[in-house]
């Protein structure tokens, strides 16, 4: 029974490198011949999670854990936290700064899309400590 863990740092406000970790994760999944429908979902969730750290939190990381039956993506940050998670989960809710909206971000669909695309979705947040999003994707036996 194999397993693999990879951790990628995420830097606050670094729009140039944002997405690179999710691209690497995609590449790993492709090498393993993961079904394309699962790659798509993991890629979307990883990227949205990364962008939330880049825009709304402070530095953080994205952690990929692979086992023979499961892909787990865990995104943690040391940001300001989310005061009202139910509200943050609403479609269209966003506190993104105007400058980010100009860049095309801040549609308020990130968290709802992550929840929709992951087979299991958990979010935990402590004010002034940070936020953790954990997502599971079932791959079946490899």
């Amino acid at each position: 029974m194999g397993s693999l863990v990879k951790i990628f740092p995420i830097k606050h406000r670094d729009f140039i490198h944002a997405g690179k970790p999710s691209i690497e994760i995609k590449n790993i999944l492709k090498t393993l011949n993961t079904p394309r429908e699962i790659i798509r979902r993991v890629a979307v969730c990883g990227y949205e999670g990364e962008m939330n750290v880049v825009m709304h939190a402070r530095n953080g990381q994205i952690r990929l854990e692979l086992s023979n039956t499961m892909i787990i993506i865990k995104i943690t940050d040391k940001g300001p936290g989310i005061p009202d998670i139910d509200q943050a989960m609403e479609k269209g809710f966003s506190t993104a700064l105007d400058e980010f909206r100009e860049m095309g971000f801040g549609a308020g669909m990130g968290l709802p899309n992550m929840k929709k695309n992951a087979d299991r979705f958990e979010i935990r947040s402590t004010p002034e400590k940070g936020t953790t999003v954990r997502m599971e994707f079932a791959t079946g036996e490899r």
């Binding site: 995609k26 090498t31 890629a43 692979l66 490899r142």
Partner: protein, 437 residues
Amino acid sequence: MENSKDLPCYVAFNSQHCTGCGDCAKVCPTKAIRIKGGKSLLLVDNCIGCGLCINVCPQGCITPTTIPAQSSKHTPFPIIFVAPVLYSQFRDATPGEVLKGLKAMGFKHTVDMSYFFTMFKRATEQHLINLGPPPEGRPVISTMCPVVLRLIAFRFPSLIDLLHPVLRPVSVMVKDVAAFIANHHKIDLRAISIFYLNPCPTKMNPKGLSLPHGSPYITRAIGINQIYAELNKQIKALQNSPLDKTLEPVFEFEEPPTGKSLLWGISGGETAESTIKNKLCISGMNETLEYLEKIELGLFKEYDFIEFRTCREGCVGGSLCAVDKYVAKNNLQQHVDRPKSKERHRDNLLKDLYAEERFFDTLTSAKMEKLFGQRKEPLSIEDLTRVNQILKQLPGYNCSGCGAPDCQTFAEDVIRERASISECSPLKTGDDHTKGE
């Protein structure tokens, strides 16, 4: 010494002058090239025919597997399909004269591909209407550039579902036109041989997507640069001589394109004359790769359509073009600005054809994946762990001293037993002053 000269592929390597510099291995988007024994070696299954290696090789060792133009003279009834980028290669000859020049060279009929591309464009517009507003099924990705098609199947399988699910026009064309011509001349279909006049090496492989299965006719590709000198001569000759009636177009698809139909050879040309406004037109291999990555991350869903061309500026940047791409662009503009002659298509006819599902053959996602999907053996999680362990031992220079384009590929090669770790030259010579992670 390996000599992969006769491989049934898009490109051929001549090892005689190869210095093993590795430039080709570095530029290859599917990592299909290694240096073994000081010479380039092509992993045929991974080649998608983009032609980048042809351009980058400083020794000129890499050539497309096109055939010499003269071989058309030995077939009884040669017809030629013309990629519309051809007209951009001439400044002082009109598209009509270019097509006549081809007939003067001995081709019985010329088929202007933009005639069919316009139908295809109509099908794209209808497909977008049928999808409803974005983000449903968006962004739809153009299938016009065969390299993009293969690149997606090979490296971005999750995007297969976004490809415009319409049979590529080339396939429709070949079937229809050959039957039509055979019928018109009352000759056997098998007597007709079809040639493609192309700006890139992609359609060289007869096993490729662009040909219908079980096709009875010979289909060959000729690079524009292989025919250019002779075509130029023929055009000059006919410009200086009284009109030769036999060179005039017989069928509608032989008529030269006008106006924006001429723009298919440049980036943005596919949608230039269409109702699709909410689109991105991307050209160049690096840009194509970058945007495919982004689309796979879920971006650009608010756009209707993405037109990709892996050659810079579109087909005018193809490795088998004869003329500089920016000069070619300007030439095209001159042709476009000429007064228009008659339009070739009736829109209603196209709508009817669409309704008859004329454009829908069987390019399903499953078929695409089968045709072009991952041809590398997948690795297991255990293999990947070993790849990571090997990577930790390597200097991480990405210098190609091992013959692979980069350390990651080399480490995977070691696991696939295609290379041995001792082939990393900095590691061998102790020239490794990095390390520590």
